[in-house]
């Protein structure tokens, strides 16, 4: 009994942590981009205010069940994903629900949120959303390939299919996987901006073409939920990268340092690069990242 209560408390705390950290990361990134753009930028807690405000907004649009369901789906998927990603190396509190084989599960579930969004967006009937969804799915196919290849390479190399397994490998050997299997890391790293949908891979919701793309018709609570889910998911992705390639984190400070450093990479690259068209981004992902994925696979196999 106590164990389960402990777990539930841990899960709640993890979610809150992910939410807060994710939100602050968003705020910091806005601030940093603002500085690069020669301006002051919003306060770092701006994202909280945005979410809070959107929560208070009234909603008067109805597009049917999927429209309601999509944001909920997304946040559920984000939290679920979070549950399977160990936040700290060996903290009981934040290890949550991981099991052997969870990498494969994660690969699967991480796409799931996007699918939910796709369904929701499709139900709104807005052509912008529809085009955005099709772009998003195309692009996903793009970055999933090197990403999956990188993970498969890891799994083959270290003969484990669980995140904790890989973390153990790192803590035992004392080297981070980014050094011990560099090609997989490079492939995953090159695919990462696509996952975050920052420039140059922001064609999905490119305002200059598609208004906001899939989320065009989502406002108020929906958008608020989506933003919450987005920041949790960002935290999840960063933590996963840290877990997989950077040896995880033994405490929260190290975690924040590592994830934030990692986070700066898509943010900064996004600040100074233009946007790829869909086919260009797919071509990009199937170029160098996939090449490194192959190398990683070969490296792992032999």
């Amino acid at each position: 009994m106590e164990g389960i209560g402990y777990k539930i408390l841990g899960a709640v705390l993890t979610t809150i942590l992910a939410f807060v950290v994710g939100m602050f990361y968003g705020g910091f990134s806005r601030k940093i981009i603002a500085r690069i753009q020669n301006r002051v930028g919003p306060p770092v807690w701006q994202n909280f205010l945005d979410v809070l405000k959107l929560l208070f907004k009234k909603t008067s649009v109805r597009y049917g069940l999927m429209h309601h369901f999509a944001p909920l789906w997304m946040i559920t998927m984000s939290i679920t994903t979070l549950m399977f990603v160990p936040v700290l190396n060996d903290g009981l509190f934040f290890s949550n629900l991981n099991f052997s084989g969870d990498i494969i599960f994660l690969l699967y579930i991480m796409v799931f949120g996007s699918l939910g969004m796709a369904l929701g967006a499709g139900s709104t009937g807005n052509p912008n959303s529809a085009i955005g969804v099709s772009r998003g799915l195309t692009q996903m196919v793009g970055f999933e390939i090197p990403w999956v290849m990188a993970l498969v390479a890891l799994m083959i190399q270290y003969k484990t299919t669980s995140v904790t397994g890989l973390m153990e490998v790192q803590s035992q050997s004392g080297t981070w996987l980014m050094f011990s299997s560099p090609f997989a890391f490079i492939a995953a790293l090159l695919a990462m901006p696509g996952m975050f949908r920052y420039s140059p891979f922001d064609i999905v919701g490119a305002p200059a073409e598609l208004a906001s793309g899939p989320i065009s018709e989502f406002g108020g609570k929906y958008l608020s939920t989506m933003m919450t889910s987005g920041s949790i998911f960002a935290f999840v992705k960063l933590t996963l990268y840290v877990d997989l390639f950077m040896g995880g984190a033994s405490n929260l400070i190290v975690l924040v340092l590592k994830t934030f450093t990692l986070y700066m990479y898509p943010v900064l690259w996004g600040a100074v690069s233009a946007r790829f068209r869909t086919e260009q981004s797919v071509r990009y992902f199937w170029g160098w990242p996939t090449f490194f994925g192959f190398i990683a696979l070969i490296y792992a196999a032999f």
């Binding site: 500085r35 690069i36 020669n38 301006r39 002051v40 900064l268 690259w269 600040a271 100074v272 160098w288």
Partner: protein, 596 residues
């Protein structure tokens, strides 16, 4: 495309170094708003300088500026008393209103933040609603140089001084068409001048007509309330020009010369009649008598005739025009000009009995009893004397008498050295006439030159012609020889003492400064008064006369209901245009009285 474009990947990344730079963001509203020294922000109006001409309101294509009445600004001559109110729901900050403001009272300031949830707040009055810090914030203004108003008058061509004194030819040549159009186009048509014109002529309209190249309409507008416009165009005292909006920064519009231009386009009485083509009402059988064919009498006669009255004017002299004929020298107002205008009046049915002196040739009572109304425009004929010793000497004469003789075609011996005493237009006229007769003329005036009541143009003209002006000279005695002929003028120098009541400074004789000027004639020109001996005594009792003038109400009606009076003998301003105004007003009153 390069296989791997490293430069293309890394070059943009150098942009990240901007992170280390301080943002150039202006932290408004933590720091105050910025505006340049020439910024076109909200309006500010210096209410005291504003004359309410409404030019800003007119130039505004958005109709953003209303002229409204504001408590505390009642309006006076040359100030309508209205002030601009801006509707910022219309304003486009083009600042044309500033560029055309003739006084420079309207400006734009550096303030530009005007945010409110209530749209009705945008109706506001500059100078009142931003009284506190409006003036120090003025940023966009228009000075004389940048202003779109044209402040310099088209110069009037004149004969040179030494040519002028050869003859009595008209000294001022008048505008030609091009000059007139140019001058007329300076006018901003505010119409403030009409208020100070005693006759309230339609000045902006006729100037506009001239500017639009329609001289006939201009003449028609002028004849609407002035039947002697050519005379006015030449010799009017033109108070309109004193209050012209342009005077605040430059020369007034030459309203007088423009009127002159418009009237001179009609060469003779027939043409005037053809152009003006007035509507003459059917005869109504009422009989009006007018005493004196001066400006007021002629005006009354003309407009009464147009209104269908049977009008007879009794004139003591041989020519019509009164003082304007006999008092004003011919180089200012040629006889033909007046004859043309009088001829036109006669052609529409005004009867003038010349050489008929009321009281002598015809009895006043007879006229009074036979008429439905009588208008007296008898003027001031009797000159004031200087009141100094030696005035009765041979060679000491009065300017009015002198001018009367000369204008009547006669001549008078004045010798070759003349002193004219006085500083009014009559004095200058007499001096310039004497100059034309070959005399060396000196004007002796008690006060300074700038105190002279005469027109500055006249004074300048006199100086050009070689008339000497001796200001601050008080005549003491006319000195004669044993034959009773004038040989000199004894006068003293004066110093100016400020008036304790705030009036203009008064001259005070300096003891022991007496001098004697050798002259052959002394012409006094210090004023005239009326001669009402033609009125029988029993009637005179019923007519109220104060300080030598008939007392009249605003309808120019004397204390006798049937008797009206105007001109010099009824108003204190004593100039031609006031006389015309009196005549015009009397006409309206007579019509009202008789045509009930």
């Amino acid at each position: 495309m390069a296989f791997f474009d490293l430069k293309g990947l890394l070059s943009p990344v150098t942009g990240l170094k901007q992170f280390g730079k301080k943002p150039h963001t202006i932290m408004f509203p933590d720091v105050a708003e910025h505006a340049s020294d020439r910024y076109r922000g909200l309006h500010f109006n210096k209410l005291e300088d504003c004359i309410g001409c409404g030019n800003c309101s007119t130039i505004c294509m958005n109709e953003a500026i209303d002229m409204i009445q504001i408590a505390g600004y009642e309006g006076k001559k040359g100030d309508s008393g209205l002030r601009p109110r801006v509707d910022n729901g219309r304003c486009c900050w083009c600042a044309l209103c500033v560029e055309v403001c003739p006084t420079g009272s309207l400006n734009l300031t550096k303030d530009y933040i005007f945010v409110t949830p209530d749209a009705n707040d945008f109706l506001w009055t500059p100078g009142i609603d931003n009284k506190e810090k409006g003036e120090e914030n003025i940023s966009f203004y228009s000075d004389k140089e940048t202003s779109l108003s044209d402040y310099s008058r088209v110069p009037m061509r004149e004969l040179d001084g030494d040519v002028r004194i050869q003859s009595f030819a008209e000294a001022v040549l008048g505008y030609n068409e091009e000059e007139a159009r140019k001058e007329a186009s300076r006018c901003i048509s505010c119409g403030l001048c009409t208020e100070s014109c005693p006759d309230h002529m339609h000045i902006p309209e006729y100037i506009n007509a001239i500017a639009r190249e329609n001289d006939e309409d201009a003449l028609r507008i002028i004849y609407d309330n002035n039947p002697l416009p050519e005379m006015c165009g030449k010799v009017c005292t033109r108070r309109c020009e004193d209050v012209c909006a342009m005077t605040h920064r430059g020369d007034a519009i030459a309203i007088r010369w423009l009127k002159r231009y418009a009237t001179e386009t009609a060469k003779n009485a027939e043409i005037i009649k053809e152009i003006v083509n007035p509507e003459i009402k059917e005869a109504n059988g009422k009989k009006i008598s007018i005493i004196g064919a001066g400006p007021s009498g002629l005006t009354a006669g003309y407009y009464l005739a147009l209104r269908g009255f049977d009008v007879t004017i009794y004139e003591a002299k041989a020519k019509a025009g009164g003082m304007t004929f006999y008092g004003i020298p011919k180089y200012r107002l040629p006889a033909e000009s007046l004859e043309k205008q009088v001829g036109y009046m006669q052609s529409i049915g005004v009867k003038i009995n010349f050489n008929t002196r009321v009281g002598k040739d015809i009895d006043f009572k007879e006229i009074y009893n036979n008429s439905d109304a009588v208008f007296m425009g008898v003027g001031f004929e009797k000159p004031w004397t200087l009141g100094i010793t030696g005035e009765d000497l041979n060679g000491s004469l009065q300017a009015v008498t002198y001018l009367d003789v000369i204008n009547g075609g006669g001549d008078m011996e004045i010798g070759d050295k003349v002193a004219v005493i006085g500083g009014g237009n009559v004095a200058i006229d007499a001096a310039r006439v004497a100059r034309r007769k070959g005399a060396d003329v000196t004007i002796v005036y008690r006060r300074r030159v700038e105190d002279m009541p005469a027109d500055w143009e006249e004074i300048e003209g006199a100086e050009d012609e070689g008339v000497h002006i001796m200001p601050q000279g008080i005549p003491i005695e006319v000195i004669g020889d044993k034959n009773g002929k004038v040989t000199g003028l004894k006068f003293a120098r004066a110093e100016m003492i400020p008036d304790p009541d705030g009036g203009r400074p008064r001259p005070k004789q300096i003891e022991g400064s007496e001098e004697i000027m050798e002259v052959t004639s002394v012409i006094g020109a210090i004023g005239q008064e009326g001669d009402y001996s033609f009125i029988p005594d029993d009637m005179k009792n019923q007519i109220k006369i104060e300080r030598g003038r008939f007392v009249v109400d605003e309808n120019k009606q004397t204390t006798l209901p049937k008797l009206f009076a105007g001109g010099d003998s009824a108003n204190r301003t004593a100039d031609a245009i006031s006389a015309i105004a009196d005549g015009f007003r009397a006409v309206k009153a007579i019509e009202k009285m008789l045509m009930k």
